[in-house]
């Protein structure tokens, strides 16, 4: 929200701390909020004067004569100011503490306290108080209080208690503001389309893809909708999965409108260019053995299983070297496990066109087969074209299974299995 007005308001109340911490104004809400003010200002005869003097619309801070309940109304604001003052004093105290702590630390480390930076603090704490705690957040630290205390919110209402945003009572005005704009834009486009059709003298047809439509419709190829987390960060709000999904559906509907190119700037805010998750530059080059035969070498670990793979171009020979001896594919008893090895080749349509040499160790059979599948698909990337790599990715073959082995539980035979229990 735009709090430019608020900052003006607070100046006479001698709260200077706030004005420094005002965030940058956001693109979306500025336009609408200004509309909100304008609409209300239009009602005022003194609209121009009010804009120059820093008075809120309909604010009755000045005329106390006829407002017998001015005190009551501004209760919300006074409560807020009280809270702010409390926080301010706390932060002051904590900052002083931090400064003292920093000086002590510098003295302990025998360095100059004036040039002691945050990195130095971190380093010295790691040296003085080595912690074996797994979670880094649980380890001791020394930071400026501004870094770890929750940041203060700005008041969402004026001095008379009237909220600044017209959707304030919904509880999530930032998000609903976007949705409101979206719907209004969609309805406007519909109206425009109707008018255009009226001129052209044809009936409106929904989702009709004419050639003319392609010029007026926004082109979304090569881009994806913004991620929920990114959306939350970008517009500084919290929305849940369900609302996000609904929002994306609405956006999609707007983008599919035959005149959506007119709202390109609006839709553009929620578009992120599509980045392929696997970059061709990351794929290693092929190796060559003594005879000049190209191959790829890999080692994959999954749970306890270890697979060392060498993939050659060939005609489907499989050699599996296990601690028990040498095997071919029949090392894997069940068909499902053998199919794990088959699948990557099937996806790129190159069955029996590669030779496999594998060294397997530890792990269960199904785990080994899955590790082998991952190793094969990764190694295959070096041999095949980019399209095939994309196919492999879409089939989910290029993501490793990061799940660890489930631990054995006390009182049980294994992770899940119980001891056999006999009544008598």
């Amino acid at each position: 929200m735009n709090f430019l007005k608020l900052s003006h308001l607070l100046n006479p109340l001698k709260i200077n701390a706030l004005s420094s911490s005002l965030p940058a104004t956001k693109k979306i809400s500025t336009t609408v909020m200004s509309n909100f003010y304008l609409n209300s200002l239009k009602l005022n005869a003194k609209a121009s004067q009010l804009a120059s003097t820093t008075k809120l619309p309909f604010s009755d801070a000045d005329d106390k004569s006829n407002n017998e309940r001015a005190e009551n109304i501004s209760r919300a604001m006074s409560y807020y100011l009280e809270k702010m003052a409390e926080r301010e004093s706390l932060m002051k105290f904590k900052t002083e503490e931090f400064e003292i702590g920093k000086r002590h630390l510098a003295k302990m480390m025998g360095e100059n306290a004036e040039t002691f930076t945050q990195d130095d603090i971190n380093r010295s704490i790691e040296y003085l108080l080595p912690s074996g705690l797994f979670n880094k957040k649980a380890r001791p630290f020394l930071k400026h209080p501004e870094d770890y205390y929750p940041k203060s919110k700005l008041a969402a209402f004026g001095s008379d208690g009237r909220p600044l945003h017209h959707l304030f009572y919904t509880g999530n005005p930032d998000f609903y503001q976007i949705i409101y704009e979206l719907t209004q834009k969609y309805l406007n486009l519909n109206r425009l389309e109707d008018a255009m059709n009226l001129i052209k003298g044809r009936m409106k047809t929904i989702h009709k893809t004419d050639e003319a439509d392609l010029n007026t419709r926004i082109n979304l190829t090569g881009s994806v909708w913004i991620d929920r987390n990114k959306l939350n960060v970008k517009f500084n709000m919290k929305i849940d999965e369900l609302s996000y999904n609904k929002f994306i559906i609405m956006l999609q509907k707007l983008a599919e409108h035959s005149l959506s190119k007119r709202e390109e700037t609006f839709i553009g805010q929620f578009i992120v260019p599509f980045e392929p998750p696997i970059k061709l530059s990351d794929i290693p080059a092929l190796l060559k053995d003594e005879t000049g035969r190209p191959y790829q070498e890999l080692e994959v670990r999954q749970r306890t299983a270890i697979v060392k793979l060498k993939l050659y171009e060939g005609n489907g020979k499989i050699k599996i070297k296990a601690p028990e001896g040498n095997f071919n594919i029949n090392f894997f008893d069940s068909l499902t496990q053998r199919e794990q090895l088959l699948f990557p080749f099937k996806v790129v349509d190159k069955i029996n066109k590669f030779d496999i040499e594998m060294e397997v160790n530890n792990g269960g059979m199904s785990c080994l087969s899955k590790a082998a599948r991952y190793a094969i698909s990764k190694a295959l990337c070096c041999f095949v074209s980019a399209d095939s790599i994309e196919k492999l990715r879409l089939a989910g073959l290029l993501t490793s299974d990061s799940r660890p082995k489930e631990r054995k539980k006390p009182g049980q035979e294994g992770a899940r299995r119980r001891y056999t229990w006999k009544k008598r």
Binding site: G316, I318, A322, E324, G325, N328, I329, N330, D333, S334, L335, T336, R338, E339, L341, L342, F343, F345, K346, V347, D349, I351, N352, G364, M365, S366, E413, G414
Partner: protein, 445 residues
Amino acid sequence: MSLARNLNKILSLRSLAAQNRLFNLNNNLINKSLLINSVQKRYLSNEQEPKIEIKISQKAVPHFFRCSVNDPLKHNSVHLNKFYKVDEKDLKVIDPFQECLTREHYAEFKAFNETALMIRQPAIEVIDYIKKLDLSLPAYRFVLYGNENGTGKRSTLLHLLHYCQKDNWLLIHLPNWSAVLRRSKESQPSTYKEGRLDTPIDAALFLKRFSVQNNKLLKELNLKTTKKYNWSNRDSSPEGTPLLDLIEYANTRIKYASDICGAIIREIKFQTNSNKYKVFVAVDQVNSFFGPTRLKRADKSEIKVDDITIARNFKKLLKNDWCNSVVVSTIGSVGVILPAPDRRTKFYDTSISIQNRRRVPCSLHYEGPLTPAHLLKKEGFYYLEPFIPIEVPSYSDSELLTHYEYYRDRNWLQSEDALTDDGREEIKFLSGNNPREFMRVCQTI
């Protein structure tokens, strides 16, 4: 992977397919022999329409995977990698109790309405040797082995049996031999010598098989005993008793079957010098003769192979102290008899899931290397030496193609995906060119 995806579909269709399979077979044969087109077929189905006379050609359409020569005597390297048909009459003589191959094989034979065997390199090789052998020399011994299980040793053995039966050999066949050593159907202490064990039912079974396999030849030769045999204080057979009578006697007095078995083997072995007949000994899992057994006496002392009467007698056949004979034996992991699992001791590591237990060293199956040296061990190796080792390898690509086309011809592959080239490649990949695995993969499609 499409195979796996279609698996459910296939399984649901499978029962239907099984019903249709016979029907399809008949239809297919007619279709192929008559060469009727679809229009004619429609006419045929409609009874009201006038019937059209069709010329029936007796000659079946030749397939590249089929061998036109069904007589094993004429097989040579020209007929390699092709299927030949075994007559049902012959099969009933060679393999009367369906013990030579696995149950899966016989199920397939039943479904296909024929018994077809592939002519493979090892069989042709042995046949070639047998043809050229000088039988006056001591017994020749062949050992069939494979680098993996399921490469087709037993079907090679069946092929050889078929050859020898046609060539008028006397057959001594020991299929599924290791089962006797694992758990004999009935055992009792021997009356002949103390400490030995008789297995009368197994012996009787052998005699029955022997009599069926060689009935015709034995009648021709009319072999008689050269010695008086005392079975007990009361019962005895005089000198000059025909061997067939002796076998009948064993049928009535099963108690003496083990001893009679020994007597017959002795007689056959001694009378080969007469050059009247040739003896073909086929032993499956010969390595079981040179290992421990699971049988135990009443006092729980272990029984060795030499303590079992029939085993002791059969073992004599493997020696090369007689002529006019050929011994062909196979070695395999089934023949390795591991100690019997006890209820009290856990023979598997429970922390490993059932699926993976085969990789545990103390599992129920032998998982070591399958070379003759490893399987026969020192004792067996010296016992059989000198022998001719013959490797039965996995399918070559052409053999696999032949088998695939045969299945296709028999409508065994129901999935449409399996009929494509990609499908064949998938099956090849999944089976790893192993005949048995190939068979099993194709069962699910």
